[in-house]
Amino acid sequence: MAGRLTARYVAGRLAQLAFVVLGVTVATFGLLHLVPGNPARTLLGVHATAGEVAYLSREWGLTRPLPVQYAGYVGRLLHGNLGTSVYYQAPVAGLIGHALPVTLAMLAVGAVFGTAFSVPLALLAATRPGRPADHLVRAVPMAGLGMPPFWIGFILLLVFALTLRVLPAGGYGSTPAAHLESLILPGLTVAAVTTPVLVRSLRLALLEVLGGDFVTAATARGLTRARVLLRHALRNTMVPAVSVLAVNLGYLLGGTVVIENVFGLPGIGRLLLTGILNRDFDIVQSVTLVYALLVVLINLGADLAYAALDPRVVLGR
């Protein structure tokens, strides 16, 4: 690691992390109490028997005071108990355990595609400021940000799966090769959502770096254009790029929920939606929690990445 972390920074960051995680559990706990009326009755619907309602009320401890309920909730979480799916009749932890790798794989494929699109586009635009290529690349974010993620998914589905029939229309397959094939279209969709944000920030960062003295100095040393651009200029835009991604993470990650649904990928986003369809509260609650933990962890990773990417960064002063 090039930059440094001070012990004080690590301690402070962990304390903040713990506070946020605690707050997140309060929020997911509170979700149940947003449900109008008796949550068990409302969620089970009008056809549920009194016995079923009573069972669920007891399971959630709805008759006890709120602080006791919350303590019980956190206690269960600490034991790895994320609740039980009424619909699947299975522990939610296990369901998430199966679904999470799919979501992470889709994100990884999306990140690869997103980088592969954004970097050349940003380079193209930033090295030709004010020229047609630049204008075109700047129009991409404007057009892209106005599209719902699932719409982009529809279009890709329509073109590649239904018309050209070169890629599967949905599902996840059963072999690693089939998995990868199934991830191409969802990954492209994730990239289509990420690219506008990334191109915009990368282009701005590149313009600033390319106008900077060290790029001129590197050119004056007779380095090749490719080396000046890739090794020096692009490398120096990584820190701003990482921070923009971290800031937009919540939006980008949220988009994956719908994308999984379009392509029928069995990830946690799809799990969330089947939970909603089946009024399976424990699934909704725990998947929401897992998404938040994912954001918190990725943000922590981004902070560490600053230190890894930039030797000037001393986290913690």
Binding site: Q16, F19, V20, G23, V24, V26, A27, T28, L31, L32, L34, V35, P36, T42, P141, M142, A143, L145, G146, M147, P148, P149, F150, W151, F154, I155, L157, L158, L162, L249, G250, Y251, L252, L253, G254, G255, V257, V258, N261, L272, L273, I276, L277, V284, Q285, V287, T288, Y291, A292, V295, V296
Partner: protein
């Protein structure tokens, strides 16, 4: 006024005009079923064809635009007001109010936008009221961040210092001196936020959590059209194009405003 801003406003005016004049532009009632002519292609009677219940897609598209635009614009109001107010308070007073607001903000931003909106709408029950509550609960954070940052900068500038030195009460400095100067950034953000909000409304509709059928709504129309994507793609793509064009118009306005304000 930049060309981008002008083009965006013009485009939005056309869209708004079309959905406002929906009864004049569409020959059919959006809810009128015709089970003898389901999934029909474009014809003189039905410019975009009919859906799986024989309803006129063009009419539904226009009436759906009413719902999406109205909800999109209206749903931004509460987060704008609440978020900006909290940002003003946090930035101006600092100390524990700032700390408290920012810690709550940390927690809200830990949730992916769509995930929290979906979860809250689910808990409250699908419908327009739930959408408003969910978007307010999640959307205020951006305004708070932006306004707080602006206030922190403005506080060090002469006019605020002078107003303080003159002994003006805090509420007066906040409302008369700070708010008008720091809100321009929030207004620009609101334009892009309307895009995000309309997309969220459409997405909730697509997931079946938004405006409830049979009322027309772009997202719900896309969901209904999804099974027919390969045989009758217009069902899902027509509302999609409507969303994209609307989003583009609003993005252009936001970009143009930002450029005009030199941001």
């Amino acid at each position: 006024m930049t060309r981008t801003l002008a083009a965006g406003l013009a485009l939005l005016a056309v869209i708004a005009g079309m959905v406002a004049c929906a009864p004049l532009l569409a020959a059919h009632n959006p809810g009128q079923q015709d089970l003898l002519h389901v999934l029909a292609g474009p014809s003189a009677a039905h410019p975009l064809g009919t859906d799986d219940l024989g309803r006129d897609i063009w009419a539904r598209l226009l009436y759906a635009g009413r719902a999406d635009l109205a909800i999109g614009f209206a749903a931004v109001a509460a987060p704008f007001v609440i978020g900006s107010a909290l940002g003003l308070l946090a930035g101006y007073f600092g100390g524990w109010p700032d700390a408290a607001i920012m810690r709550v903000l940390d927690i809200v931003v830990a949730f992916p936008f769509y995930v929290l909106v979906i979860a809250v709408v689910f808990a409250l029950g699908a419908g327009v009221g739930s959408i408003f509550i969910a978007i307010t609960a999640v959307g205020w954070v951006s305004y708070t961040r932006i306004v707080r940052g602006e206030v922190l900068v403005a506080k060090r500038l002469g006019y605020v210092q002078a107003a303080r030195a003159a002994g003006l009460p805090a509420w007066r400095i906040l409302l008369r001196h700070l708010a008008p100067n720091v809100l321009s950034q929030a207004v620009v953000y609101a334009m892009s936020d309307i895009v995000l909000t309309i997309l969220a409304v459409v997405t909730l509709g697509y997931l079946g959590l938004g405006v409830q059928p049979p009322a027309p709504e772009w997202g719900a129309m896309m969901q209904a059209g999804e099974p027919y994507l390969s045989i009758h793609p217009a069902l899902a793509t027509a509302p999609g194009v409507a969303v994209v064009v609307t989003g583009l118009a609003l993005s252009m306005i936001g970009d143009g405003l930002a450029a005009g304000l030199g941001i």
